[in-house]
Subunit: 156 residues, 2 copies
């Protein structure tokens, strides 16, 4: 539900009247997501990639030899939606796909060296933002942040 201002590059928090005491929290969730992903998205954009590509790289990095079907399930998108970004990553040789020896009908995905590098750098941008924020509140504050987010995330 929110905003931006003068500078073209980055939106900043709007100073809207608060009608409820939790309005600030709603706005922080919105701006927080943007704040965390802003640098990573800029980094990816310079390489002609975007969030969907990062999501694929992120998952494959953590599940080497994942099959395409599993990837679709984890990402929560259709195979048609996966197709384009996945093929781009294969063309760019950020990912490799090979069929497994036994289960010859599924393709197993892996990151190449270059793929690892990009995944790491993009995620590093996001982790740095989190680290800086956690450093300001110390370990107990960080733990509280995690606890709050877990409660919200599991609200399904």
């Amino acid at each position: 539900m929110m905003p931006k201002t003068s500078h073209a590059a980055g939106l900043h928090r709007a100073s809207l009247e608060k009608l409820h005491d939790l309005d600030a929290a709603l706005e922080l969730m919105y701006y927080g997501w943007r704040g965390m992903t802003l640098l990573a998205d800029e980094y990816l954009a310079k390489r002609g990639l975007s969030r969907p590509h990062h999501r694929i790289l992120y998952v494959v990095a953590r599940r080497p030899d994942i099959a395409i079907g599993s990837l679709i399930e984890i990402l929560g998108i259709s195979k048609q939606a996966l197709n384009r970004p996945l093929n781009l990553l294969l063309e760019r040789k950020l990912l490799t796909s090979k069929r497994s020896p036994e289960q010859h009908r599924s393709k197993l995905l892996r990151l190449t060296q270059a793929g690892h590098r990009i995944e790491q750098r993009a995620s590093d941008h996001e982790r740095k933002v989190m680290r800086d924020a956690f450093d300001r509140v110390g370990a107990p504050g960080a733990a509280a942040w995690m606890a709050v987010m877990e409660t919200i995330a599991d609200n399904n």
Copy 2:
């Protein structure tokens, strides 16, 4: 960078291997945003509305008599992008627009009773999620959450 599972309705947190200690935080940010907006989005969808409509209603609720140009600036979108959702809200009579007595060239937007009701109910869904999460960690935990998110949000 993430996920989903069996049920069609709501994604749930993926159990991916953590390569870095802050990976959990990255995933929580992703799922947290979804978790907070899930119920509100379902509520809005039942009424043929979506996030952009809610953003407009949210801002107008907090800036009665806002001009279209200011709304564009706050939302950070182009006037062409604003056009469709704004006109829908006007057609549905959730918003009114009138020209001001003096400044006859700008249009002033206001919520109708129905508009207020929808804005309030949608935002209530989000505030409830936040309230439940804050209740679990108490006031100091909530303050820590806010402090972390402010640092991240201002990362522009």
